[in-house]
């Protein structure tokens, strides 16, 4: 079973994404911001990360920049999910190391489709 880390400071968002991904057969952990996410990822690397942008202490861009420097775990795909839909935000997301940039709120089938695509679970 593949492991996904959901990084978001909103408890409701974490629960929503968790329910969708667990129903699709993934195992899910949660982190409330970028620092907690790094702590968790460094102890137990995940197959994929779902990263919010605005979070206290370490935001999504900051997390991805730091994460992409960590040997052994840095190659995992990351989906950035955010309320910010501007073209500039998108560019910043990709520059920080996101593989995909999605605008909230996300439809369940859309989320599952993108996760499967990035994890190569299309069969």
């Amino acid at each position: 079973m593949k492991h996904i880390l959901i990084i978001d400071d909103a408890a409701t968002v974490r629960l929503y994404h968790r329910n969708i991904l667990e129903a699709a057969g993934y195992s899910v952990d949660e982190a409330i911001n970028g620092i907690e996410a790094l702590e968790k990822a460094l102890v137990k690397p995940y197959d994929l990360y779902i990263v919010d942008v605005n979070m206290p202490k370490l935001d999504g861009y900051g997390f991805l920049k730091e994460f992409r420097l960590q040997e052994n775990i840095k190659q995992a795909p990351a989906i950035m999910v955010t309320t910010e839909a501007g073209a500039n935000d998108r560019t910043l997301g990709y520059a920080a190391g996101a593989n995909l940039y999605l605008t909230k709120p996300i439809k369940p089938n859309e989320l599952v489709a993108y996760v499967r695509l990035l994890l190569g679970d299309l069969s």
Binding site: D9, A11, I32, I35, E39, V43, K57, L58, E66
Partner: protein, 280 residues
């Protein structure tokens, strides 16, 4: 008084709030433990229900009730070699990284806050002597501070109950302690190895003389502070530290609830936090 119960929705609400504030996450298997303590606090505060209590907890400006809860949800006990994995991390990883960066032979400076009755700074001294070969090549200053002068006096005396030393290996106990006056007296060499002082870490002027620290142990203290006090204390540590130096927090604490100024570092024995070398 009506019988107070915590239902599933109450538990989830509490769990999320407590996690956000402290970083401590209770799994459902801890439900009984959490419910029991919550009900105890609901009764002591004479709240009528979980809802009334939760509102008070969330909106009380002093934050005292959250502190009470943290107190009863954690075990705050101090003893020798408590959370030993961090001392292992110190001797196996941190000190080697620090000495590799040093350009002179000035002492390595370790600060243990709060000193409490001295178990932590003395544990550090013992660990260095027993497990770190570098102690023959480097001078080490162990500073230890507390806000409470009575507890500092006790730390300086260095007399401990059998409970305090119960996790020490037998050979360590006989090597560094003497059984006397129905307690274990730590040897004079170790008493002389630690510099105790009174400091309120919330006071910038009192913290200011502490500079160029290489490693700070601040375990199970910040979790009892409110958000502002926690962040400000961490920032004072930041100013007291050398670039590239480390902070060790307690096992249920995380910098993710405290400050954004430090980097997360993973070593084989522990996760610790580092003041960036380039002082971003």
């Amino acid at each position: 008084m009506a019988i107070i119960t915590i239902n599933d929705e109450d538990f989830l609400k509490f769990k999320e709030y407590f996690y956000r504030k402290t970083g401590m996450l209770f799994e459902n298997s801890k439900r009984y433990f959490v419910d029991k303590r919550l009900i105890e606090r609901i009764q002591i505060t004479e709240s009528e229900s979980f809802r009334g209590y939760f509102n008070m907890l969330r909106f009380e400006s002093s934050g005292n009730e959250l502190q009470n809860l943290v107190n009863i949800m954690t075990v705050n006990e101090t003893y020798f070699f408590r959370e030993e994995y961090q001392f292992k991390c110190l001797v196996n990883s941190l000190l080697d990284e620090i000495t590799a960066k040093k350009t002179d032979k000035s002492p390595i400076r370790i600060w243990s806050v709060p000193s409490s009755s001295g178990e932590e700074p003395y544990s550090i001294a013992i660990y260095l002597l027993e497990h770190w070969a570098g102690i023959h090549d480097w001078d080490v200053e162990i500073l230890s501070s507390d806000i409470d002068t009575a507890i500092i006096a006790q730390a300086k005396r260095g007399n401990y109950s059998s409970r305090s030393v119960q996790h020490l290996p037998k050979n360590i106990l006989t090597k560094y302690f003497k059984y006397q006056d129905e307690g274990y007296q730590i040897c004079d060499d170790l008493r002389g190895a630690v510099e105790f002082s009174r400091v309120n870490i919330m006071n910038a002027f009192e913290v200011r003389p502490y500079r160029d620290i290489d490693v700070i142990f601040c375990r199970n203290l910040l979790i009892y502070f409110d958000d502002t006090a926690r962040r400000q204390s961490a920032e004072m540590f930041f100013d007291a530290m050398k670039p590239g130096s480390f902070v060790c927090l307690g096992h249920s604490e995380s910098m993710s609830r405290i400050s954004s100024l430090f980097r997360v570092r993973k070593f084989p024995d522990a996760i610790v936090y580092q003041k960036p070398l380039d002082v971003r």
